[in-house]
Symmetry: C2
């Protein structure tokens, strides 16, 4: 039985969903992967909760109800330092669930660097650090022969990186395009049925699909961040957001949906990486898809991505839950694949 | 630089496409995967072509034109014994491209057993041996810590097993369903446009999509074999063809297509594995899909598969070239992933 020690940084909605899933899947991981998941510490910005080293066999998860406030636990230590936790246990996986910040990547970026320096693998649901310093994190991980699990930041439960790197191994990826943001796709799908932008956005917010401040989604930045991460991970490039031509959805006029409907087409926000004679292009753009397009059927909050290859033609993946449990499942997947030496 | 020695058994159309692809991708594999592909022998039922051990740096591939008859090469040896070849080189990957025989799995099955016994990984484009003795081959491979690469036999360039085992790691697969045979899907797509069965079949044959004897495809056996392999590989079960309820497409009456068209549906041959209260069910069946079904858009000779999971919802993969190059690419993918310890 392998043991994977886990430190979780960030105990918001994704972090809590991750703790719940780890708890639920513990038996399964032992049976299927011969893997013991040992969640040893949970941090938020105010301190940490952890299991003392002389108490190794006790499971932290038993000590608090997932969803509850860890600060109420008897193990809560406002003074617990990160450095202390990183040194206290045998290095395993550092899981970052801090809020996404596409500007400077903090606080996640600093934490990830420290975790890698201390010999921990990193798995992240947070796009910020990868968008800001993909190259630096990648290099740090490579030098120390550590893994950087990015599924949670690259469309989460929709498999993108595993497909590109494993299922298409040996094929050259010539480009890819995807519907990578559930919120904008939901809004555009509703607008395709005749709803106005404001109304569709409000409905998405009421359903918990769109954030109260939807700018990161509707202005195209979330899609841009995802294609950036996928591109850098596949091609080992060091593109940043400044290299992406970003278009959002808020300016799309209702007439476009009418025209599209008449010709049997749909309006989608596509993020894509393509090679052109004058160089590669990274962009998010409003596109009209006809029914022969492999992403035509990807409606509502669903996502999908198509990879174009030289030897396997195009391969499309769609689906994967766009919710907290799906995000947690993507984190767990990376941890399992790291434990098997497969990332 | 790792070196992977390769012996190819079977030099028909898939085997030749494999040799061509290995030749084409050699540089790429060195650069991207630090992997030297060393094709050391090619066998067919009449003998073998190989590179002498004292001539290791020479590449067999340079010695004959792919697509030509290996028996014309100066290296052709009608007396070359398999046992000799298996012992002559450091064990690497045995690639099986012998004709598929769903009845007794031969000649591939016997060859694969010998290759595994001699310490070679096995990668196969041939469904026969896996359908007949999945359990035995799997056990043999596990005991010797060898890999069994089955992508080429499980829908080839459409990724099925990598997605199920890696991209969905940690999620419980509750069931799956797929359009897994390009020939029948092509015929049904044409019938959906008003063509009769006989006419559609002849067109498929003229285009090289259907075999002169189409029975294995149109009677559902190819689809049945694929769901069997995928099921056994995911769940480590030992189902055989006798456990699959098999329906083909030749009996489907034209009226069904008319009805389907009226309600915006399509007729597809679905292969599926589902769990029911009274036990699991493996079947191929004619189904009517409506436009919300994730496989609705999979038309013509294209393929697709949907996996249903507990934590990631459903994930669908479509596409992947249904041709010789796609089959060869699936074999190469497995070899690369084996070289990285990932199968």
């Amino acid at each position: 039985m392998k043991t994977m020690n886990i430190i979780l940084m960030g105990y918001g909605r994704v972090g809590q969903a991750f703790v719940r899933l780890v708890q639920e899947k513990q038996e399964d991981c032992r049976e299927k992967y011969n893997l013991r998941l040992h969640l040893m510490a949970v941090f938020n910005s105010r301190g940490g909760l952890f299991l003392a080293q002389d108490d190794k066999d006790r499971n932290l998860l038993a000590d608090f109800e997932p969803g509850s406030n860890p600060e109420k636990s008897v193990f809560w230590r406002p003074d617990l330092a990160l450095a202390e936790a990183l040194k206290s246990f045998d290095a395993g996986v550092w899981v970052d669930c801090t809020p996404s910040n596409l500007k400077d990547g903090e606080p996640g970026l600093g934490y990830m660097r420290r975790a890698l320096d201390a010999g921990w693998h990193v798995v992240t649901a947070n796009k910020g650090p990868l968008v800001v310093d993909f190259g630096g994190l990648w290099k740090k991980a490579r030098i120390k022969r550590l893994s950087l699990g990015m599924s949670g930041a690259a469309a989460a439960a929709l498999p993108t990186l595993d497909v590109a790197l494993k299922a298409l191994a040996g094929a050259e990826i010539l480009g890819f395009e995807g519907i990578l943001n559930g919120t904008t796709n939901y809004i555009l799908t509703r607008m395709g049925k005749g709803m106005g932008y404001g109304e569709a956005l409000r409905e998405a917010q009421q359903k918990g699909i769109a954030e109260p401040n939807p700018s990161q989604d509707v202005d195209g930045w979330d899609t841009a961040a995802k294609i950036l991460i996928i591109t850098n991970a596949i091609f080992h490039t060091g593109y940043t957001l400044a290299d992406v031509r970003v278009e959002g959805i808020s300016h799309v006029r209702p007439g476009l949906f009418l025209e599209a409907r008449k010709t049997g087409r749909k309006i989608k926000l596509i993020g894509r990486f393509i090679q052109r004679p004058r160089g590669p292009l990274l962009e998010t753009r409003i596109a009209q898809l006809d029914s022969s397009h492999p992403l035509f059927g990807v409606d509502g909050a669903r996502k999908g991505v198509t990879f174009f290859t030289d030897s396997m033609d195009s391969v499309t993946v769609t689906g994967g839950k766009s919710d907290l449990r799906g995000a947690a499942a993507a984190l767990l997947k990376d941890i399992i694949n790291i434990s098997e030496g497969q990332i």
